[in-house]
């Protein structure tokens, strides 16, 4: 028979099959590489193409060999295709849809003629490690190598413009998760549900049923009965097109769910009480020369094509069978009208030597040397137990040479296994095992659930652990099976990575003689199939090459995820909570430029930060400082607590006074700073930096709960409860006086560093602090948040004739830099201990105890630390970028931490850290700019560049 006759788009579609998944009433068209193809509802991309006579679906990863269908399932390594802008779609799993635009990956310029397939003639020049060894030297050519290698890399193309899509997450707390919806999984789920458990039944394929789906009439009838039982139990949640991808500590199970309408993929995080592992078995390919030619497929693939998709897999077949499933495939092929030219029965010594054919199988050389023309080669040489979930549960499955596969050895209490992974036997025997396993899973789930509930302190009374005795799970028989891995020739072991048995033997010869090393060197088992098809064959080839047994060789480690998860599913929906102050609508109306500051969105400026600075210095400005951390502290021991938390003294703070304080951690490093005021005898309000608010609260709670639990202090975070406004500038008193009631604002009655409680713009219970970050006369007012916008608008309205203008974070940064106030985290870092930041005046080492005291004592004695200083470049027009280095020759002796052009002083000003010998005022230091240019700067007397005496703030 000539090949040409087979390849002219001849329909391979069979008549209606009893178990077919097709909806023949729904016929439509999709495109493959730009050409139109017909499909039925229920077809996968590959089944529709196969029905149309196509047999080549991709080019292989390394040698660009034509690849066809091998497993006709999710795993099929040659069937990854591009769909629209989605790359690497599992074409033998994804259902085709009307107008879908699918195309081949890894082929250029076309699937038929791929120039890179020249690689396969170079096979003997492309040994394992070829890329590592060749593209090493010289280093200057790396960019070129990168471009070349990228061209040759496999995979589809991800469009940077692809929309994110709708991905979701869900948390679930089932009693039992059943991983695998074949007959065993269905039986276990039904038994567990009937025993009272809430069950999740998770199946990778689009329908439940496993191998029954492509079985005979009897199998289909059994499947119908099981399906009805599952449907009757409302406590079973069935998830198809979904995979249990991992099992983690405490039976934390990840499920990738792809079957939801309008959701691309959902990641379910299920805390299940018990997990039943029932994935069935994966048919293992056979290694021989030409085993990756299109037309060579597994027996399950042939049976799936015929029975599920009504596709005739070929015209003339040779079958290598070593088991009953292979025999069933022969029967299916004959029924489908395929001429079975020869059956090689491995149980009677039958074998396949090699397959010849470029674009597809053309001729088989059988074990006895006979050559047979055919376009289809079907192999049934054994099974791989997908033990991933068992390994993740801590099991070390053992290899049974008599059955030629792995079995579970010792499972934890909360994980059970059933189905093909546990043994063989008739369908009735399997179901009996599955039902007992499901019932036992439900029983153990009750015990585990009771133990969990007993751990909740409130419900300790009452519930007793259930006293039921374990369900007896019958042993499953284990069928003997020949150990068939590689025939008499070499062939492909890892189809995804194009690794042949020859490559593995070469790797062993080079010294990579353990499974884990050979895997990494050859990349076998590291491609999209992730070992499910190839791991046992790789192990067998390594065992053969090293002369060791399978047990001695050992398999490579199975790691999560079992099946690929999209990054979209891991990311989930795009939740990024942000915080706004109550004044946000006003800022937006004024066109404020937003600044992301942690979770807060704040106005950076309102168009002209320099003008904002000038207005604060000249008239009056207002800034929204709501993100400022605020903690309400109450109780008789607050002053003790403050004395302990801050480096400075607090015991003598009178009611109505506020004080600036610095907190250091136990390592003496500056942690946070802020102003705290005493509102009443046992009532204080602490402010922290905006970014430090949450951390400082946790830190205080730690000290209070674990170190001084006898201190009577109640801490309440009130950051969001108050809107905070700073009114700064020479006219700030005049402005506040227009809106404040019941408070005398004169300097005598309300001096600098004081706090008053009063009414602002008619709003009662506002706190007014006379403090200033900007160096001007200023008031910080904290208003109940619901009135924040109202008070802000009142200030703007009543101060219009005073020239009141808003200012943003940028203007405030300039103003505070002019004033020399450091910002924790900007001007200090994780190594800045207290004395280095110029706050010696605040550190009171004579206190009995405070956080970090010993380190500060030692720092004071050491005296060799870098110091924060004010700096002015000699050339006032240059503002060195922040983080510029201060250098002496080639040595780094400091850095610029803050730098701005000050419109007030009409020159650049900085804060920086310098080595102790450079800290003397008047010293000239050298600053290296990022462009390599060096400038000089003078160390100043004070941190403050503007009004160092503080006369304006006190005025």
């Amino acid at each position: 028979m000539s090949r040409g006759a087979l390849k002219t788009g001849k329909s391979m579609r069979l008549g209606r099959q009893p178990g077919e998944v097709l909806d023949r009433s729904r016929q439509f068209v999709f495109t493959w590489n730009g050409r139109k193809y017909p499909a039925f509802g229920g077809d996968t991309i590959i089944s529709a193409l196969s029905a149309a006579g196509e047999s080549v679906f991709s080019r292989s990863f390394k040698y660009h060999r034509p690849r066809g269908l091998l497993t006709a399932s999710f795993l099929d390594p040659g069937c990854n295709v591009q769909v629209g802008d989605e790359p690497n779609v599992r074409g033998a799993h994804r259902k085709v849809e009307p107008h879908m635009a699918a195309s081949a990956q890894n082929a250029w310029p076309s699937l038929r003629f791929d120039v890179k397939s020249a690689n396969r003639y170079l096979e003997r020049f492309l040994p394992p490690g070829f890329y590592y060894k060749t593209f090493m030297e010289p280093q200057r050519l790396w960019p070129l190598y990168e471009r070349v290698l990228q061209r040759f890399a496999g995979g589809g193309k991800a469009s940077p413009d692809a929309p994110h899509g709708y991905y979701d997450k869900r948390y679930a707390h089932p009693d039992v998760v059943v991983a695998g919806g074949g007959p065993a999984g269905m039986g276990a789920a039904v038994a567990a549900a009937e025993a009272g458990a809430r069950v999740m039944l998770v199946e990778e394929e689009h329908e439940l049923g496993g191998h029954l789906r492509w079985g005979d009439e009897e199998d289909l009838a059994a499947l119908r009965r099981l399906g009805e039982e599952v449907a009757r139990n409302s406590t079973i949640e069935v998830m198809t097109d979904s995979v249990v991808t991992g099992r983690y500590d405490g039976n934390w199970v990840a499920v990738s769910q792809r079957s939801l309408p309008r959701v691309e993929e959902r990641l379910i995080k299920a805390r299940t009480k018990t997990l039943v592992v029932a994935p069935g078995l994966i048919e293992r390919p056979y290694v021989f020369q030409g085993n990756d030619a299109p037309g060579v497929m597994l027996s399950t693939a042939a049976r799936r094509l015929i029975n599920l998709y009504a596709v005739k897999p070929g015209e003339r077949a040779v079958v290598l069978t070593a088991n009953a499933e292979g025999d069933a495939a022969v029967a299916d092929l004959e029924r489908a009208g395929v001429e079975v030219a020869r059956v090689e029965d491995a149980r009677n010594g039958g074998d396949i030597g090699r397959v010849r054919g470029g674009q597809g199988a053309r001729e088989v050389e059988c074990g006895d040397g006979a050559r047979i023309e055919c376009d289809l080669v079907v192999t049934a040489t054994g099974w791989t137990a997908p033990t991933s979930l068992l390994n993740m549960a801590g099991d070390k499955p053992f290899y049974n040479p008599a059955a030629a596969r792995f079995f579970p050895s010792r499972l934890p209490e909360d994980v059970l296994a059933t189905g093909g992974i546990a043994g063989d036997g008739s369908l009735d025997e399997l179901l009996e095992h599955a039902r007992a396993t499901g019932k036992e899973a439900a029983r153990r789930a009750r015990g585990i659930g009771a133990a969990l509930r007993a751990g909740i302190p409130q419900s300790t009374d009452g519930e007793e652990a259930p006293q039921d005795s374990p369900v007896t799970i019958p042993d499953l028989p284990v069928n003997g099976h020949l150990e068939l891995f590689r025939g008499r020739t070499h062939g492909i072991v890892d189809y995804s990575e194009d690794v042949s048995s020859k490559d593995l033997v070469a790797a062993v010869k080079e010294g990579y003689d353990s499974a884990e090393l050979a895997k990494r060197y050859t990349t076998a088992t590291m491609g999209p199939t992730q070992g499910k098809l190839e791991t046992v064959n790789a192990m067998a080839v390594i065992a053969e090459a090293t002369g060791r047994s399978m047990e001695e060789t050992g398999a490579t480690t199975w790691r999560p995820p079992y099946a690929p998860i999209t990054l979209g599913a891991l990311a989930g929906r795009n939740f990024e909570p942000v915080r706004y102050s109550p004044m946000q609508p006003w800022h937006e109306r004024q066109g404020a430029r937003p600044l992301v500051a942690g979770a807060w969105i704040r106005p950076d400026h309102y168009g002209d930060p320099e003008a904002e600075v000038r207005n604060v210095r000249k008239n009056v400005g207002v800034i929204d400082v709501t993100p400022l951390g605020k903690l309400d502290l109450r109780g008789p021991d607050v002053s003790e607590l403050l004395n302990f938390l801050y480096v400075n003294k607090w015991s003598n703070l009178e009611v109505g006074k506020v004080r600036y304080g610095v907190m250091c951690a136990e390592d003496g490093v500056i942690l946070d700073d802020g102003v705290t005021g005493r509102l009443g005898p046992e009532h204080y309000l602490m402010t922290t930096t905006s970014s430090g608010a949450a951390g400082v609260l946790e830190w205080i709670e730690d000290w209070l709960q674990t170190y001084q639990p006898d201190w009577r202090v109640h801490v309440t975070p009130v950051t969001g409860a108050y809107a905070s406004i700073n009114i700064a500038g020479p006219k700030s008193r005049e402005l506040l006086a227009r809106v404040a009631e019941g408070v005398d604002l004169s300097t005598e009655a309300f001096p600098y560093m004081n706090v008053r409680t009063g009414t602002v713009a008619g709003v009662e219970g506002c706190f007014m602090w006379r403090i200033g970050f900007t160096g001007e006369l200023s008031y910080e007012i904290h208003v109940p948040a619901a009135y924040g916008l109202y008070v802000w608008e009142a200030l703007m309205e009543r101060g219009a004739d005073l020239g009141v203008r808003p200012f943003g974070v940028e203007a405030q940064r300039v103003l505070r830099l002019e004033k020399g106030h450091f910002i924790v985290g900007q001007d200090t870092d994780a190594l800045t201990q207290g004395f280095g930041a110029g706050i010696s005046w605040a550190i009171k080492l004579d206190k009995e105890d405070f956080v970090g005291k010993p380190e500060l004592v030692w720092q004071g004695e050491r005296d060799g630390y870098f110091r924060l200083i004010g700096l002015q470049p000699h050339d006032g027009s240059v503002a060195p970028p922040e983080a510029s280095q201060i250098v002496e020759g080639k040595t780094i002796v400091g850095r610029i931490t803050s730098s701005r052009f000050s419109s007030t002083l009409e020159r650049s000003i900085c804060l920086g850290f310098v080595a102790p010998h450079l800290a003397e005022p008047g010293t000239t230091v050298t600053v290296q700019l990022p462009n390599g240019e060096r400038i000089t700067a003078r160390v100043m007397e004070h941190l403050a560049h503007y009004d160092p005496e503080g006369a304006k703030a006190r005025g």
Partner: protein, 90 residues
């Protein structure tokens, strides 16, 4: 993800908690030596076995507590609220 038995709230996902380090005792700040203080700050036993550590139930009851956890099996055999320790000492 492991379940951690909060003495207040019962077993909860570890992601609700912040790990606050191995339990340690703060040396007397006025009598300590740099060696002792820095051991308190930085030197951890990190055993493969039973260890006593501090946890903070950040998104739950916001209580700090100590837990005796086996770092290999993640079994937790005892948890204590610090206040409870104090009461038993008094």
């Amino acid at each position: 993800m492991i379940l951690l038995p909060c003495p207040h709230c019962g077993p909860r996902n570890a992601s609700e908690f912040r790990y606050a380090g191995e339990a340690s005792t703060r040396p007397d700040p006025n009598a300590t030596t740099p060696e002792e203080w820095r051991a308190y700050l930085y030197i951890k036993n990190n055993p493969a076995g039973w260890t006593t550590e501090k946890w903070f139930h950040r998104t739950g009851c916001r209580r700090y507590f100590t837990a005796e956890r086996h770092t290999v099996t993640n079994e937790v055999r005892e948890t204590r609220l610090p206040a409870a320790r104090l009461e038993s000492n008094s």
